[in-house]
Amino acid sequence: MIKESTSMTRREFLEICLKSFPLFVFFPTFWIDELLAFDAETYDPTKHNYAMGIDIDKCIGCGRCVAACKIENDVPKEQEYFRTWVERYVVSTDGETQVDSPNGGIDGFPVLNSDETILKSFFVPKLCNHCSNPPCVQVCPVGATFKSRDGVVLIDEKYCVGCRYCIQACPYGARYMHPEKHVADKCTMCYHRITKGKLPACVEVCPTKARIFGELGQQSSPILRFLRFNDTRTLKSELNTKPKIFYAGADGEVR
């Protein structure tokens, strides 16, 4: 018996090895392919960490970002619904700050007349801050709003029950109730564009490059260059939301 089990000749052994060769080669590849097929082709969300910079000194308040955002993301045309909007800050000589944003800045801003009392005036584009520690995600009772693995805060439209907790929780007022879908809606940083290597629509159309988009993890990214060369701050940083929208040239009045 023992002799029989060890009676394999060298020729037989090599034959078996050769025959089983395709098994070793193809089997694991099928397996890996199946695993990869679950995710989109080559996009790996764990390798990205998106952020945006806004240079207030460059913003001319043309409102093209607001218009492009509404077109790209099918945001309702009415005056109450914005994923991004431009605010005009007017600081008067007696220290009072007035903020206005007629129709989000799409149609421009009314002319200011009393020039003598105005100390300074500037535009501030606003949008979802895509916080690293988002309050809106904490309050969602059904898990419909979440922080994706690439750091973008998204809304699952099919899962949202429209309870509006997140709209109240957002300290930046970046969310609104969609009048037709009856779900919460907000900036996705144009997730459908950035995952295909394009820029968000607002960054794409900004004529003065006041909006800078990039990845925090990449050394060659424009956002890291922007952060190196500018003194930046985030909005309401005292709330510990850790926003990923960085403002350069923003004074204390900007909230």
Binding site: F122, L154, K196, T208
Partner: protein, 248 residues
Amino acid sequence: MKLPKIPQQIISLFILLLVVLTGFLFARKYFTPPSFGLYGHYRANAVDEIKARGMKYAGSESCIECHDDIYNLKAKGYHKNVACEICHGPAGKHADDPSETSPEIPHDRSKCTICHDYNLARPTGFPQIIANQHNPGKFCTQCHQAHNPTLPHTPNECGACHREIASQKMVSHHASLECTTCHEAPLEHLTDPRSFEVKKPMTKEFCGQCHARDANSPVEIPRIDLQIHGGRYLCWDCHYPHNPEANR
């Protein structure tokens, strides 16, 4: 030893709990989407659904593929950062199939005044007009080229564009010098500033024409020994030529 008898009501409660628990477990299994909780407390498939939304803006890099002539013209001028789709509208469909739709070609003044109408809050130096007073009734494109905008009348003074330098020079001891004393400006620089650049002095000897000990210039001009003053450094490493009194 005999086990104490479990009361009937406890047994019924236990059975009820078991029924509720199994009901809950079944409900959770069948009502929770399969991808929920894969990467966190959310439905993982929602990410792919958001990713699959259609794009309406094609991006300038798509426009270059066919309209490279206009892009190259634009890249040299002041509108180099102005994306095509700001004025021409979203062109995603046109980029997919150019024959189907074509983007609008705006001739309307309102497209230009969106950015160039005067507004106090705009940054200083950004070219602005008061649209009601600036040739009302005329189209912008009658005088300005949209893809390579320049002033229709060439400015006479350098300070029209180089305002900061001009205002510094104005209060310095170099106020009486013309810009062309030091800079050789080709005439084309007025109309095409980026292609025809102005020349700057390159050597110490240039400043020495006035400031060297043996220079043929008025006596009140400060003199230095060109051979030893400043060593290997050039004059403008220490002195700002447009305002030499203010040491940098």
